[in-house]
């Protein structure tokens, strides 16, 4: 799981991929039922194109060009169609979707994410289709720095709280996170902009880095940045 690794905080693709991977982890842990239909269609299209190319390669090697050129022409046309369909599927249907699933209460959630080049802001679009068929679209734009500490470790709580608080369906499935976020907000106001880490999280962080203890982790707002520099 990518979210357990440290990544370079200067690599936007790494930041996005790690965040994307954390979404299914989080929602599936809340007993959402993930649907893989989009991915499966993409894989089917792609691998049938690949199989066609492999077959073309095989008959070209075995029988030479001249005796198979009509077949090859058909294969090239078909391959173009399949690849075009794949490109359309990715750009028009998937549109950056990283998660589709059904909540325990039966509402369908579809989450797509994007980042702009060299801008560390995570754009999340959440489409909720309730059981009655009512559609709702929620857009969240948040800085990636909110859930990556300065050593490049992914911190789940603020990330999950963003969803729990921003989307009613997720919030009702995870009332604890939705509440923690509100407490975090108060703390945030007190400590003037420090990240909303809970004492438990700082304990975990301290153990992972092997420096500091629970007591000095709880101490001050400055300590709440986490990471190796905390002792200084």
């Amino acid at each position: 799981m990518a979210s357990q690794e440290k990544i370079s905080v200067y690599n936007l693709a790494d930041l996005k991929n790690t965040s994307d991977d954390a979404i299914p982890n989080y929602l599936n842990s809340l007993r959402f039922r993930q649907s893989h239909r989009l991915t499966d269609v993409r894989l089917t299209l792609g691998f049938s194109a690949l199989a066609l190319a492999a077959a073309t390669f095989a008959w070209d090697c075995k029988f030479g060009f001249d005796s198979t050129k009509h077949l090859t022409a058909v294969a090239v046309a078909l391959y173009t169609l399949l690849n075009g369909a794949l490109a359309l599927w990715i750009s028009r249907v998937e549109r950056g979707t990283v998660y589709v699933g059904t909540s325990p209460s039966g509402d369908e959630v579809r989450i797509s994410t994007s980042v702009e080049k060299n801008v560390p802001v995570y754009h999340v679009t959440i489409e909720v289709t309730s059981k009655g068929g009512k559609k709702e679209t929620i857009k969240i734009d948040r800085s990636l720095a909110e859930w990556f500490d300065e050593t490049g470790r992914f911190v789940a709580a603020p990330f999950q709280a963003m969803f729990a608080r921003g989307v009613a369906v997720i919030g009702s499935a995870d009332p604890k996170r939705a509440r923690v976020e509100e407490e975090g907000d108060q703390k945030e106001a007190e400590s003037a902009g420090a990240a909303a880490y809970t004492p438990e999280m700082l304990d975990v962080l301290a153990k992972a880095t092997g420096v500091g203890s629970a007591s000095d982790a709880e101490a001050t707002g400055a300590a709440k940045k986490g990471g190796k520099r905390r002792k200084a």
Binding site: A13, D40, L43, A53, F65, D66, T80
Partner: protein
């Protein structure tokens, strides 16, 4: 780096991305083959026998269809000789007869003698079907990379190593 291997769909998607790069390159090549009707529509000049028209390392684009007229004297063609797998780029200097059975003789612009020496044992002329295509366009020097690679095989190993490393280290 190898994290995605734990998720079969993500691993499959990554494999697919890599495979599609290879297969698309191959199918573009085959598409060009079909359009030009030539089994090898792009060749690299390996010798100086056509100087000053073509130098070693020039990239040639071939066309193998006779839509309006037959292949004629004066055209630069690429042909294969039976039993040799290296295509040769030379100019047609004589033509006897017409149609697909016309007898063709070729010669390199920079060579003193015609190509009868180069043909297979007992072969005195070429026919249309020996020809892979006529040269319609060229790009100077671009093909020199392939000459370097075939003359210094260790370069291939180095290049494959670098490419493999890049694929393994990058996800996008």
């Amino acid at each position: 780096m190898f994290s995605s291997l734990q998720n079969p769909r993500q691993a499959a998607a990554q494999l697919l991305n890599f495979g599609l790069i290879l297969s698309t390159a191959f199918m573009m090549w085959k598409g060009l083959s079909v359009v030009t009707d030539s089994p090898s529509p792009i060749v690299v000049v390996l010798s100086g026998s056509m100087e000053p028209a073509f130098q070693r390392g020039d990239l040639l684009l071939l066309w193998n269809r006779n839509l309006f007229e037959e292949t004629n004297v004066g055209e630069v063609v690429v042909y294969n000789v039976k039993g040799k797998d290296i295509p040769i780029v030379h100019r047609i200097v004589r033509k006897f007869g017409s149609g697909p059975d016309a007898k063709l003789l070729t010669k390199g612009d920079n060579n003193a003698a015609d190509d009868t020496e180069l043909y297979a044992r007992g072969q005195d002329y070429l026919t249309r079907k020996d020809i892979v295509g006529s040269v319609v366009a060229y790009m100077p020097f671009v093909g020199y990379v392939t000459i370097m690679l075939s003359e210094h095989p260790w370069l291939k190993t180095v290049m494959l190593g670098i490419m493999g490393l890049v694929v393994v280290l990058q996800r996008e």
